[in-house]
Every structure is written in structure tokens, then in C-alpha cells.
Amino acid sequence: MAESVLTTLHKHHGDDAILQTASYVGDEMALVERAHLLSVMQTLRDTPSLAFNMLTDLTVVDWLGQDPRFEVVYHLYSLAHKHRLRVKVGVPEGEGECWIDSVSGLWWAANWSEREAYDLYGIDFRGHPDLRRILMYEEFVGHPLRKDYPQNGRQPLIRRPDAVPTDDQTTRLLTHSHDRSVR
């Protein structure tokens, strides 16, 4: 079973679509070319011997400084055959280049995961029915889980007029002018 997932996949798609595969202690991975993602995913879902009918997770890795910078990772599971597969797709960062096809037409579960990935990493999922921010607010600028986003890059919606600036927590405690002694 373990080998056959990747073997079956290789039968359907050539080396232009499947760039690389790996199998380590039953942990299968396939690196897929971005242009072929949808057809590969379709194969994975609809081939009876594969039958990956569940997308358990969709996430992104930011390899800042490498090319391609982003790696979108899909975790697939087959309820029928009880096997798993990890599919990775490289996505470059450039303006207009940072896109990938949405798989929400294949697995409805991808809908919110892709919105989350868009929100936090700024990857444009083409063909997504409703690509809006899901965790951060609409006014937020930038994508906070990118490695070049400043760690304390708060974008407050609201502050008291006399709130102490809070770039650095240590400074805040030292300069806090309010009387905190209650007794």
C-alpha cells in the first residue's frame, strides 16, 4: 500500500507534473508543479485505488530567501484505504506571481483553509469562491505569518487617547505612568 500511492500517481502523471517524490517510514510526499496541481489533485481524489476523499489540512511554509519562497502543503487522507499523502507545491513570491489554483472545487474543506493561508501568507488562490481575510480584520495591512513581517507589528483598531505606546513590553512597564497600586 505504501509504495502504491506514489506508483499509481506516477502512472498517471509524468515528470513534468510530479517533480519529486519521497517516502520515508510510510510518510509519502509528492512535490507537484504548480501548473499541474488541479489535474494531479483530481487524479488523487477520483482514482478508485487512491480515493483521497478528505483534505485534512492545508498550510504554507515560508522559506524566506529561497526560490520559490512559499510552499503550499496539502495533507490528504483516504477514508476508504486509510492512507495519507502530503502534496507540496512551490509558489514564488513576486508581484502577480504569488498565486496557486484553488482546490476548493475538489474538497470543500479547502475553502476556509485557503482563506486562512491567503490571510496570513498572502497567497492568491485563483478560482476561490470568496477569498477574504478570515482571521485578521479587513483593515489589516500585510500578511503576518510571512517571515519578513515584524513580530510586534500591531495594527490597532482602537486605543485610548492616553494609552502608553507598546512597541516593546519592557519599555512599557518602565514608563507606565498610571498608578497601579490599589490599596
Partner: protein
């Protein structure tokens, strides 16, 4: 006793009012995170916050006079907290329950407001992650002392909310000087995303 310049009767009357107030704090638990578990424990029979007259959580801020901010306040939620606070009738008090509500705690990142006092005035800070119920009761008793001694609020805002023009970019688009804090079309997030 603060009111030295008053006569005996008003002073005693004020003391009586303060006494009545401090033992009838109706709480509004603004519970957002793990600290709420400890709040439940504080409310429960073992620690029994009812012994201090604060046993009655009101789930409408309009009927409460002690806002207990329990747990992590995210930047996205901060306008909601402000709105809840604004709906409470005076006299109202605020307790920051746990380090998240006090300073943001260990969440020093883009998403968590570094303390509820960034948004609303706070009277008591109860440290701990989460604080033990004893600490919460201690904080409550400190607040009761404050009320009894008529010392007023720890942090006071200048003017009321409507007058100070606080920075809420969503709900108060026009500031006092007529400038708009609302985001322009350019500043809004474009559909395809944008880096800073």
C-alpha cells in the same frame, strides 16, 4: 475617609452608600480565553465569590457595574470590549483578570492587544496565568477597599467616550477635528494581497 470638608451626616451617608456599593458588585464576565476556567472556579462553591457580594454575573453590560476582563484581548476584539464598557452605567469598575488582560502576557505579537488598559481604563490588575482564585478574591477586596474609601478610579479618561474621539477606525470614522480616520480605498486590502 476622603470627605474631610463635609459634615458628619453626608460623610456617614457616603460611607453607607459606598458600603452598599462594594457589597453589591454585579459582574459582567468578558471571558475570552483560558482564564475563564479559573473564573468559574472563583464563582463556584469552593472559593465562592458570593461571600463578597459579587456572585451575580449579569450577561448584559447594561446591568453590570464590575467588568471583569478575563483572558486574551485580540486587536480585532478590542472595539467590542470598548463597546461593552461604554454600555455599562456609572459607577463602573474594571478588573483585568490574568496577565493577558493586564499586559498581553506572553503574546507579544501582531494580534494581541497588550493589555485591556490600551482600550478601557482598568482599576485592578490581577496577575497570574491564570491567577489563582485567592488572587482574584484579593483583587476584589482591594477594589472593595477602594470603593469604601471613596478613592475613585485608578485610571481616569478625560471626558466621556463620545467626547474624547478615541481611535476606532471602524465605528467613528470622523474625528473631532473633522478629519476622517476611516481607511481610504487605497489603504484597504486589495483582493490579491499586498506586502508591507
Amino acid at each position: 475617609m476622603a470627605n474631610d470638608n463635609q459634615g458628619f451626616v453626608p460623610t456617614v451617608l457616603q460611607d453607607a452608600i459606598n458600603w452598599a456599593q462594594k457589597y453589591s458588585l454585579f459582574t459582567y464576565p468578558f471571558a475570552t480565553a483560558c482564564c475563564a476556567m479559573e473564573f468559574m472556579s472563583t464563582m463556584g462553591p469552593r472559593y465562592d465569590i458570593a461571600r463578597f457580594g459579587a456572585e451575580f454575573p449579569r450577561f448584559s453590560p447594561r446591568q453590570a457595574d464590575l467588568l471583569i476582563v478575563i483572558g486574551t484581548i485580540t486587536e480585532r476584539q478590542a472595539p467590542v470590549l470598548r463597546r461593552v464598557y461604554d454600555q455599562m452605567p456609572d459607577p463602573k469598575w474594571v478588573m483585568a483578570f490574568g496577565v493577558c488582560a493586564s499586559t498581553g502576557g506572553f503574546y507579544q505579537n501582531y494580534t494581541v492587544t497588550p493589555g485591556a488598559d490600551q482600550v478601557i481604563p482598568v482599576d485592578v490588575y490581577v496577575p497570574g496565568c491564570p491567577p489563582r482564585p485567592e488572587q482574584v478574591l484579593d483583587g476584589l477586596m482591594a477594589l472593595q477597599n477602594r470603593i469604601q474609601e471613596h478613592r475613585g478610579h485608578v485610571q481616569v479618561e478625560i471626558g466621556n467616550t463620545a467626547a474624547i474621539g478615541y481611535t476606532d477606525r471602524r465605528r467613528l470614522p470622523v474625528m473631532q477635528d473633522g478629519t476622517s480616520m476611516a481607511l481610504t480605498e487605497d489603504e484597504r486590502m486589495p483582493r490579491g494581497g499586498r506586502t508591507i
